[in-house]
Amino acid sequence: MGTLGRAIYTVGFWIRETGQALDRLGCRLQGNYYFHEQLSRHRTLMNIVDKAPVVDKDAFVAPSASIIGHVQVGRGSSIWYGCVLRGDVNSVIVGSGTNIQDNSLVHVAKSNLNGKVLPTTIGNNVTVGHSAVLHGCTVEDEAFVGTGATLLDGVVVEKHGMVAAGSLVRQNTRIPSGEVWGGNPAKFLRKLTDEEISVISQSATNYSNLARVHAAENSKPFDEIEFKKVISKKFAQRDEEYDSMLGVVRETPPEFPLPDDIKDPKVSQK
């Protein structure tokens, strides 16, 4: 760059230095209460001594999730935001195509009052709802654990079993295939219809597709994120209320095209 460009760059640099000096002065004035910003130390995949998580390359793990210790996550599975899969004293095995939704907790125990505890095994194509708590249990393929459910030690949810939302499944309960159990403590509610069973499998597939969209978004490097911000500002749709306050009428904005994967499942099947 020419001398003028270089001069402006240097002036900019001086201004930044001044700003940082002022920031340091402000910190000193704040004294003991000053907050020192640090880089995020959150470790998505963390190993405990020699137990390291093994996560398939096609699995989506949200950055704010914590996968600690002896955990295996299979192909096409998704671990959503804020989950904690803690395999520190025993192992956690998550199959393929399973989704562990936001803020869930999958935990194992080494032993409980009754004796040794099996590792937590979650089969293939299982849907574990938001904020579920799974502690030392076995969930077989294509089961459905509802939102906010708590599954205690030794629980076995058989294939196509469903745990209703908010239920507390006590220790060593076995939820047979094709039944809905719920409540606190969990009791048999009703049997699942065939249609509902197919909905469960379909929801697992939908979630895998959704996970791919999130995975793509979360793994963007810094430059791409900034570029996208600029682009979206440029093409931003004006707020309708704002426009009506100004008395401006714009032509109706086009419908946002959804990526194919997360379209209405019934539509995409046709």
């Binding site: 940082q20 907050f35 910003e37 640090q38 880089l39 995020s40 130390r41 959150h42 470790r43 998505t44 995949l45 963390m46 190993n47 020699d50 390291a52 093994v54 996560v55 398939d56 390359k57 949200a62 950055p63 704010s64 002896h70 295996q72 299979g74 192909r75 959503w80 935001y81 804020g82 192992s91 095995i93 199959g95 393929s96 939704q101 936001d102 803020n103 590792p119 709802g129 938001h130 904020s131 939102t147 906010g148 939302a165 908010g166 606190n184 959704l210 969209v213 999130h214 978004e217 979360n218 793994s219 490097p221 810094f222 994120i225 979206s232 946002f256 095209p257 997360i262 209405d264 499942p265």
Partner: protein, 253 residues
């Protein structure tokens, strides 16, 4: 992405690969054959980032949807807003919440608050005729650890802590849901009543004094959120740490 993996690989000790060998050897000796078979079918990617110094992004745009946060709304840095989420003025979303508007819209209305560790999601379609978006209208207090899915909460309600509202439920104006209540799909909590339990059942109607307290609670939490909001500088100085960090690892900025 490659730069990140470089950073993480450099920052980590090189004892990871022998660790995997140890782990597999340990599992075979414990006769957990299923574990080893499972391990064989999992193909981990060498590029998977185990630690990202950026942490989790707060606002995650999906496709063309960008979550919108009003200028005076407090959204904790822990929170994840993804997809079609709008947080209106005076609202607050507290630590650890996840508002995932990837299938449908989520709105947090004026002066409402979504407290700690809530998960708000919207299904694709709802069993009732109501729109499948999750809309939290004005002056609503959603208690900590609640799970909301495709529900409509009309103005001036209180949702107790750890409550679960399933698809298509409607909580009408001036009602209170006690802590720990589970509202099954498609249920309606009528105007001015107190409901509790799993599944939620009618307890009693609210007195007029209690009804006037509801928006006061929302405003009080709004006040509280302002003090939390003021703790954060408008621009973060963490870029200095990033520059120091990169200099340590010898990566040019």
């Amino acid at each position: 992405m490659a730069a990140l993996s470089r950073i993480t690989r450099k920052a980590m000790t090189t004892t990871i690969s022998p660790v995997h060998v140890i782990q597999r050897a340990l599992s075979t000796s414990a006769a957990a054959t299923t574990a080893t078979e499972g391990a064989k079918t999992i193909t981990p990617s060498a590029d998977r980032v185990k630690w990202d110094y950026r942490g989790q992004r707060k606002i995650i745009p999906l496709g063309q949807w960008l979550p919108k946060v009003a200028v005076d709304a407090y959204v904790a840095p822990n929170v994840v807003l993804a997809g079609q989420v709008t947080v209106w003025d005076g609202a607050s979303v507290w630590a650890g919440s996840v508002l995932r508007g990837d299938l449908n819209k989520i709105t947090v209305g004026f002066c409402s608050n979504v407290q700690e560790r809530c998960v708000i999601h919207a299904a694709w379609s709802s069993p009732t005729g109501l729109p499948a978006e999750t809309s939290i209208e004005r002056f609503v207090t959603v208690g900590a650890y609640s799970l909301l899915r495709s529900c409509t909460i009309e103005p001036e309600c209180i949702i107790g802590q750890h409550s679960i509202l399933m698809e298509g439920s409607l909580v009408e104006t001036h009602s209170i849901l006690e802590a720990g209540s589970v509202v099954p799909p498609g249920r309606r909590i009528p105007n001015g009543e107190l409901w509790a339990g799993n599944p939620a059942r009618f307890v009693r109607t609210l007195t007029h004094e209690e009804t006037t307290e509801i928006p006061k609670l929302a405003v009080a939490i709004n006040d509280l959120s302002k003090s939390h909001f003021s703790e954060f500088l408008p621009y973060s100085t963490v870029y200095l740490e990033v520059e120091k960090f990169k200099k340590n690892l010898g990566i040019s900025i």
